[in-house]
Amino acid sequence: MKIVKHRLFWPAAALVTLLIINTIANPNFARVTLQDGQLYGNPINILRESAPLMLVALGMTLVIATRGIDLSVGAIMAVSGAVALTILDASENPGGLGSVAVAVVVAVLVGLVLGVWNGFLVSVLGIQPIIATLVLMLAGRGVALLITGGFITTVNSAPYKFIATGYLVVLPVAFFIWVAAVVIVSVLERRTALGMLTEAVGINPEASRLAGVRSRGIIWTAYIASGVLAGIAGVIFASNTMAADANSAGYLIELYAILAVVLGGTSLMGGKFSIAGTVIGVMTVQALNSAILFLGVPPAQAPVFFAAVVIIVVLLQSPRVHSYGRSVGQLLGVGVKPTREDKKEVAA
């Protein structure tokens, strides 16, 4: 019973169920093969392709914990990808490690600057997060187009391509990048006081102010982190396509990131957040996307299929549905007695 109480139980259960159903529908779904010391297969693709969404959702988790939202992450991805490829394109030696390093660092710094801008609007000027980040969401792609001069810049650079498609040991580089990001963010949040203070500010801003918490800095940090992570995501995305497409890079990713955060059990009301939950949420979204491709759902029906599964997963996690489930169980004489804690959740 205790495991059911854990707040990651339902998100994890939803993910596992999804994977099991996919595997039953087509056993090839779970097949992993080793070729030349590198792992291939659908599960590996999921790990590789989830990198941009994972990075963006990680930042989104921190922003949502402060009761905010960052709609600009997709646009930041477009800008950072455009910056990276434009630098490479202009460099004398696009295939050189030096130019790739410069391109990546500058692109990520641009993400940081855009995060600073968002955080400034929200924490210093007090603009509502949805509006503050909407500015960049709309303007950012324009900036990206400006950078690429309105063209889809394409570059040939083996080291740059390596970021999204290369392998380290037996697993994709992109996978190692997001794992590193998850570890770094987790350590920063839980080994410093940032996590607790972020939750306090997200749950009760006034009480936090009276307790002397510098909420401005904490909220600002969340948007900066989101900007940096979106910048890295943009670099990876551009590396995957090797083309800076201002319109399609990170298109709608902000919404998928919000979805992943919520699927991972972090409330949009702010406060308590779970990085592990977000990882599970991203995996769920990615597994679903992959299932759509793999199971051959016709493209025209894919959005509906996606939406239907999301609704089922969200319902599975809803405390209210759990309590209905329990009452039905009790009627059938198989249920467990609801605890006081659950009742409160339902009442709330």
Binding site: E199, A200, N204, L210
Partner: protein, 516 residues
């Protein structure tokens, strides 16, 4: 169920109450907001509901206007038992409410606000012309000159208040409930409102006028019901109830045991105060308040609701920035721009609304206790987990926080234990001045006495303490000196030993004399 009232007389024997509440009980979880309350209103009468914060005034209003269901008890309208499932149902029965905060839409027109939700229609569409016309009629009946087509937000608060009343009376109104209608009005605007109220009274409308301004209650009300801690103290005619008696009934007396404290004999003003404030002004609330607090003493702040006691506490602790005045801490002039700055000077504040302004309910006891200390150390210098644990357990033991589980969410604790968590957070900072705003409100008697004793111990150990309470006896028991607040000013400061509850009551309730 007969009214167990000390006052049984209606206006005339033949007049029957239009609203009657018998044995009304409302609970929120373990907290009883209304406890078997009887209440009645007569047509053509202005009735006032009096009580301190948390006495149950708002709950009673919600109970008769359909905003809250009764757990037990009966509501009778014109002698017939009724239940209002929604506020709309109450409104259809002729009961209209104007809430404390004008809950209208500032960006819509006056006419739209008056008819919102029940717009006159023509062919299924809103008939704007009829709406404006009817709005003008309603406003005219109030003798108010406001253009119905104008945007509400452009008007003064007083005018908006009148629009809210117009909205309330645009149905056939029998009972009009006005919850703190004058809190943001100036003298002329209040006079205008009273003219409207008297007009309704003549038309036989029963009016419930809730205000914490005693002068206004005595000016406009015929009858007053006093509530305290969710129970009815009694129903009285204003002409037969002395002001001081009313205040006494509102504040009540507490009989809990209290360990008598050895009092340090203090001069009226300490020679060497830790904190000294002069001419503190912060509108609304306090005007030109002076106060001194020395290390090792408890300064009790006594005053009615609206006297500025909370505002003074907030101005002294950096929570609100006063517009004017000088604050000296250990003889050095300081400007407190934020709570953070006050905390770094050892000035800490426990807010009146601990649930909304003090605690972070979804975090654990441990996180709540270390919050301020951690905020002071900064984000990067996290207090090591083991050290946090040790600290929190020592505070749980010292203050007797129950359950003694550091990981328990603060939301699930009782009021008394929540207050202790709040105190532990502040004491963990090793403060110099502790400002406690109503630390014992809404907590059980046992915890209350514990907190009172704790305050005494802290002062004995050299802490300066400001103790605010609506209960005068508590202020007298805990305080070494008592500052009496009236109309946002410290009217006088006296040694607690020279006072008793009756004298203090007289001081608190005294109408302020015009300036000499």
């Amino acid at each position: 169920m007969p009214l167990s009232s000390p006052c049984q007389y209606g206006p005339v024997d033949a007049v029957k109450p239009i609203v009657e509440l018998e044995g009304a009980t409302v609970r929120f979880g373990a907290f009883t907001a209304l406890d078997g309350v009887d209440f009645r209103m007569f047509p053509g009468e202005v009735h006032s509901l009096m009580g301190e914060n948390g006495a149950g005034k708002s709950t009673l209003i919600k109970a008769i206007t359909g905003a809250l269901p009764l757990e037990s008890g009966t509501l009778l309208i014109d002698g017939d038992p009724v239940t209002f499932p929604t506020p709309q149902a109450a409104q259809r029965a002729g009961i209209s409410t104007v809430n404390q905060d004008v809950d209208l839409l500032a960006n819509m027109s006056v006419a739209e606000n008056i008819w919102l939700g029940r717009e006159p229609r023509r062919f299924g569409l809103v008939d704007n012309r009829a709406m404006r016309h009817q709005a003008r009629e309603v406003l005219n009946s109030l003798a108010v000159d406001i253009d119905p087509a104008s945007i509400l937000g452009g008007h003064s608060l007083a005018a908006q208040q009148l629009v809210a009343i117009a909205r309330a009376i645009s149905v056939d109104v029998k009972v009009l409930v006005l919850d703190e209608p004058t809190s943001s009005l100036d003298t002329d605007e209040v006079a205008e409102l009273f003219r409207v109220i008297r007009d309704f009274k003549e038309r036989g409308v029963a009016i419930l006028f809730v205000s914490h301004f005693l002068d206004q209650v005595y000016e406009i009300c015929d009858r007053v019901t006093v509530l305290r801690d969710g129970a009815r103290v009694g129903e009285y005619l204003t002409t037969e109830l002395l002001r001081i008696d009313l205040v006494q009934k509102m504040l009540g007396r507490d009989v809990a045991e209290f360990a008598a404290r050895e009092r340090v004999i203090e001069p009226d003003m300490p020679a060497d105060p830790f904190l000294s404030a002069r001419g503190i002004t912060s509108t609304p609330g306090i005007a030109d308040a002076d106060v001194d607090i020395a290390a090792g003493e408890v300064l009790g702040l006594a005053g009615l609701l609206g006297s500025g006691r909370t505002e003074l506490a907030r101005a002294l602790t950096g929570v609100d920035r006063p517009e004017d005045g000088i604050l000296r801490i250990e003889n050095r002039e300081k400007r407190l721009n934020s709570p953070r700055q006050a905390l770094s000077l050892g000035v800490v504040y426990s807010p009146e609304n601990r649930r909304t302004e003090g605690l972070v309910p979804e975090l654990s006891i441990q996180e709540n206790i270390v919050l301020a200390l951690q905020a002071q150390r900064g984000v990067m210098r996290r207090i090591p987990t083991a050290r946090q644990r040790e600290l929190v357990i020592s505070w749980i033991d010292a203050l007797g926080i129950r359950p003694a589980d550091p990981d328990r969410k603060v939301r699930t604790l009782s009021g008394g234990n929540q207050q202790k968590v709040m105190l532990a957070r502040l004491l963990a900072l090793s403060p110099r001045l502790l400002v406690l705003d109503e630390p014992t409100r809404g907590i059980d008697v046992g915890a209350k006495v514990e907190i009172q004793n704790l305050v005494g111990d802290l002062a004995d150990n050299g802490l300066a303490v400001v103790f605010i309470s609506a209960e005068l006896e508590e202020v007298l028991r805990v305080g070494d000196r008592v500052a009496v607040l009236r109309n946002g000013r410290v009217a006088e400061t006296l040694p607690a030993d020279s006072l008793n509850a009756d004298i203090l009551l007289a001081l608190v309730a005294q109408p302020d004399l015009p300036e000499a």
